[in-house]
Amino acid sequence: MMTTPRRGLILGGAALLTAPAMARAQGGGQGAVIDITRARTDPIPIAVPALAGGGGRGADIARVIQANLRNCGLFRPVDNAAFIQSAEAAAATPRFQDWRVIGANALVTGRVEDQGGRLRVEFRLWDVLPEQQIQGTAFTAPAAQWRRIAHLISDVIYERLLGEKGYFDTRIVYVAESGPRDRRTRRLAIMDQDGENNRFLTDGSFQVLSPRFHPNAQQIVFMSYFQNTPRVYLFDLNSGRSEVLGQFPGMTLSPRFSPDGRTVVLSYARNNDANIVAVDVGSRSQRQLTSGNGLDVSPCYNPDGTQIVFNSDRGGDQQLYVMDAGGGGARRISFGRGRYATPVWSPRGDLIAFTRISGGQFGIGVMRPDGSGERILSEGWGMEGPTFAPNGRVLAFYRESQARGARGEGYSARLAQIDITGFNERQIVTPTDATDPSWSPLLA
């Protein structure tokens, strides 16, 4: 049996945390892959009984897997109360007719073994109708990281049954907001994609905005008002240290890493312009990519790093433009009704998600990179800042509710996620108000 060391967990704060040395052994068979389009209208019925052993941890892991699969909208976990065969017996040998009669097409079984501070979790994915094993995988990790094992298993299930990478073993970094809106405290925060393991990375003594992940998920680039000077900083999740990215005699904002992580593209506001500037992370050399009388903000690279989408008011109001990554050749791509902002390129390359302000409403939408095929996925009084899950199938963004009174009563800001077809919008539960989400790449 072979084991492959996996990259460590990212966790910030002052403490340096040991990498979990996630190890995985794998053995698979072949299984029927169900098209995602079909699963959207007809979610896959799947039974996930408690994994055997582990003193209750097996049930915890099964619960996290069920929640992941349910929340993505493409699976329909069968209610535990309907189960006929016991979880313990199924872990030994599934009696397929017991799972067939309760409507499950797929079955997950497994066993948790506590190896003194480390968990070894073995799981099997079964195709119930042909009574075949589709996948068998074992993960070992420090016991405290059992949730991560559940997310890794969820990703294997997603990939084997839908034929595409999942997005469950990921984190979301965001701005945690508290206090009255005129004196808001804004802290960097990070959590698992399902809202668990929430941690604050800054103490709130200075305001932060616009955090975005590095492609290796170990670093964050963000904007901070440290010492009342709005500038872009890098934050290292392992050491908890941050450093300013380049010296600019004006405000730098809306930073984002290039797909190879070597460049940060940002907006540099000085005098009456805001221009797009690329900063080389290693040498800190700067290259100005746009110039002229306009506010050019919110740049984002395409997945191969050859193009940048951004929003600009150069034509009179805010619209989306695509240019070459070296600057030049900017062409407008948004032509619908309203103002367009905060474009982000899908990791799949096929779509650009954006915020649209039209008729007093805010909306989150997607269009193809050439501007065609625009679709609004969600609309309401306030929402903005979409970010793609690493598989390009789900967006997170933040949604604001309108203040009802003169003192701001009733205002709130919450994270939401939605399938790129516009179905299955759900709130991501956070301990405080939350804005500016950024989805990490897959951690393993």
Binding site: R186, L209, N228, N311, A403
Partner: protein, 165 residues
């Protein structure tokens, strides 16, 4: 006693600064407590050259129309008064804060706020204040003065505010 009078003066000056902005009058009254600077001003004595003094004697803020970065006529008068106030206190340096209302996206509004701050700073400089004494900073839509989600509040929030450093 003294403090009371000054407090009342401070509130009056704030209202006067807003009075030409018909849409925001009601909100200015309603938001008196949350206006931040005016609320604080009432509590202490207006030391000459202080923020409280600036608010009470000439007004600390100017307002903008939706999506506009042009200082309006009433705002120009306020900035001229600020310039002569700054002329009386040459040791004072200020921040010029640019702000936007909540009906735009966060990052764009940061850039918009920067433009508003620059526009107000340029008028102070044109009135004889050294640019060295003014540092611009934008908070976009993230530090509203009025907390309602209505036209009156938005008019209060599209502003450039001069604050003593």
């Amino acid at each position: 006693m003294n403090a009371k009078i000054l407090g009342a003066l401070g509130a009056l000056a704030l209202l006067a600064a807003c009075s030409s902005d018909e849409a925001s009058n009601a909100a200015a009254t309603g938001a008196g407590g949350s206006g931040g600077l005016a609320g604080g001003a009432g509590m202490g004595s207006a030391r000459p050259g202080s923020q409280e003094d600036l608010v009470a004697s000439v007004g600390d803020r100017v307002f903008f129309d939706t999506d506009s970065t042009q200082v309006r006529g009433d705002g120009r008068a306020t900035l001229e008064r600020q310039a002569s106030w700054l002329g009386r206190y040459p040791q004072v340096s200020v921040y010029m804060e640019g702000h936007a209302d909540e009906r735009g996206t966060r990052e764009y509004n940061l850039a918009l706020g920067q433009r508003r701050a620059n526009a107000a700073r340029d008028l102070l400089v044109a009135s004889g204040v050294s640019g060295q004494r003014i540092q611009t900073v934008s908070y976009g839509k993230d530090r509203p003065a009025a907390l309602g989600s209505d036209e009156g509040s938005w008019a209060q929030n599209r502003r450039a505010v001069t604050t003593v450093r």
